[in-house]
Amino acid sequence: MKTIQFREAIAEAMSEEMRKDESIFLMGEEVAEYNGAYKASKGMLDEFGPDRVIDTPISELGFSGIAVGSAMNGNRPIVEFMTFNFALVGIDQIINNAAKIRQMSGGQFNCPIVFRGPTGSAGQLAATHSQAFESWYANCPGLKVVVPSNPRDAKGLLKAAIKDDDPVIFMESEQMYGDKGEVPEGEYTIPLGVADIVREGSDVTIVSFGKIIKEAHKAADELAKEGVNCEIIDIRTVRPLDFDAIINSVKKTNRLVILEEAWPFGNVATEITYQVQSQAFDYLDAPVQKINTADTPAPYSPVLLAEWLPNHQDVIKAVKKVLYK
């Protein structure tokens, strides 16, 4: 094992796959000469040259569509959005073309492409720069949606996403790029659609993904001091979602708390809640609790933002509620 930063894990995953497959290129704003807005493509221009590490103008609609078109004609593009907030001006190409070309053409064309970049809040960036669209993309058949929470998963999942023959939305976080973690030496991938039980426990299941899962770990550490034994599941892939892992865990703990950094209406936690009540109703000893952001756009002021975001105290409260403590 070696210890690297999250951003290095991203760069390693892209570089390793690009060395093996000439059809892969990286395209986006500031990815080449600037080495990535968050340095997630550091050194790649030097290694692969400007034909494969390509700076674009600020034209998300244009370059997303060009990447999809190139995928229909032999390329395997990686498109970096500086954040997924900016992907909104190019989302037509993701939803109407990348996700649908295969079905609309009767299976003649597929779209092996990765759209990647940061999701969610990243400090006091206010309403337009703090949004989490995992549930939007996960709602759309034809896409796969991956949200890693640590360097090891980021590298293994990104390599799998690049090798995948379907379009993958790969979501990172500005606040995770500096995180350090152990990754295996040498070649490895992590399959999409498989959750990871990151902490074993018997009293309650906490399901989460992405950077907010750290709040679940903090809560579990606190609760352990009180003798509450939390199991934490990092779903890692939102679409397809590993419901079996969650249901098996709920059958053991009989209690479920879901932590997701997203607006509360119709989000990933909502779907998990539906599936669990549908498939494990008799195993539940308490109603499922979900913790999300406030049902408002993200505010700027630090006191309001602190209230808006879910934190470990919210998780502790929810766990106590399902335990009737």
Binding site: S23, F25, D51, T56, P57, S59, L61, G62, F63, S64, G65, I66, A67, V68, G69, S70, A71, M72, N73, G74, N75, D92, Q93, N96, N97, I101, R102, Q103, M104, S105, G106, G107, Q108, F109, N110, P112, P141, G142, D164, D165, D166, G193, P240
Partner: protein, 332 residues
């Protein structure tokens, strides 16, 4: 460009007549409710396609367009029976019944759709060209759009990128005068659409889109430029559609006289006049062509009628390359 010989004129006549009659048949079966959804017909615009096909190298060049897209794949070599079957929603269709009228595709023949979102195909067309350049192939992409699509931002982002990266693509606006029911004059400060290329220093110009000879010549220059590394071109084909935008269009936005004026410069009539004037074919030979076209259209209809609908299981076969994708259940 290959010379425009007697054979070319005869081919143009037969092809364009077949496209026209194929579309007429679709209108008829649509009224019988055998074809559903939207139906956008190409009647009147045939010269834009005929001229382009003459200039293209079909062994390596590609084509992409919007939703008025039934006859382009036929021109590229796709079996028209399969196009008709697609509109019938049959499993023998070009997309096995998954796409319908607006989404015809043929990977084998280099036809990349068939796109339903106005302007959405413009960056895709540039992307096809991007890949050809990336892999150092010398194919050229012909990317069609309507006069409504040029008002989308996708055009402007793509024009800049295509020039910046010198992509081998020819952008062709088929200006038939109306974006659905709204005329170009009512939506554009400048009605000279070709001038949109000027802001990007893209070679551009207007073309008489009712004359296949002019279209072929201008397309040939643009394709040659793209193939030799000279980058993109933007051509505005001034053309006209005789039928409504789709089948439910009452066409209150124009007069019958206007339609009749354009029929005087109908591309099929223009070509037929030359054939007669130059005695490229006798009246009997022309009748033979007309009969052949009629029979071919009937064969398409018969094939589509007699084909099977897709099996229900196909619903889950087309979304992902991954064979065992775990779809959620949608009902009990």
């Amino acid at each position: 460009m290959e010379k425009i010989t007697k054979e070319v004129y005869l081919k143009w006549y037969e092809d364009m007549l077949f496209w026209r009659k194929f579309e007429d048949k679709l209108a008829a079966v649509y009224i019988q409710q055998k074809v559903r959804g939207f139906l956008h017909l190409y009647n009147g615009q045939e010269a834009v396609l005929a001229g382009a096909l003459h200039a293209m190298d079909l062994s390596k060049d590609k084509m992409i367009t919007a939703y008025r897209n039934h006859v382009q794949p036929i021109g590229m070599g796709v079996d028209p029976k399969r196009v008709m079957a697609e509109l019938y929603g049959k499993v023998t269709g070009t997309s096995q019944g998954m796409g319908g009228s607006m989404h015809i595709f043929s990977k084998e023949k280099g036809f990349y759709g068939g796109h339903g979102i106005v302007g959405g195909q413009i960056p895709l067309g540039a992307g096809l060209a991007f890949a050809d350049k990336y892999f150092k192939r010398d194919g050229v992409t012909i990317c069609y759009m309507g006069d409504g699509a040029v008002r989308q931002g996708s055009l402007h982002e793509t024009f800049n990128l295509a020039m910046l990266w010198q992509l081998p693509v020819v952008f062709v606006c088929e200006n038939n005068g109306y974006a659905m029911g709204t005329s170009v004059a009512r939506t554009s400060y400048s009605t000279e659409i070709w001038k949109l290329g000027l802001g990007y220093e893209m070679p551009c110009g207007p073309v008489d889109g009712m004359d296949p000879v002019t279209v072929a010549k201008e397309m040939s220059k643009a394709i040659e430029r793209a193939r030799s590394g000279g980058g993109p071109t933007f051509l505005e084909m001034k053309t006209y559609r005789y039928r409504g935008h789709s089948m439910s269009d009452a066409q209150h936005y124009r007069t019958k006289d206007e339609v009749e004026e354009y029929k005087k410069i109908d591309p099929i009539t223009q070509v037929l006049d030359i054939i007669k004037e130059k005695e490229y074919a006798s009246d009997d030979e022309i009748k033979t062509i007309n009969k052949r076209v009629k029979d071919k259209v009937s064969e398409c209809e018969k094939f589509a009628e007699e084909s099977e609908y897709p099996p229900i299981s196909q619903l889950y076969d087309m979304v992902y390359e991954q064979e065992d994708y775990p779809f959620l259940q949608h009902k009990l």
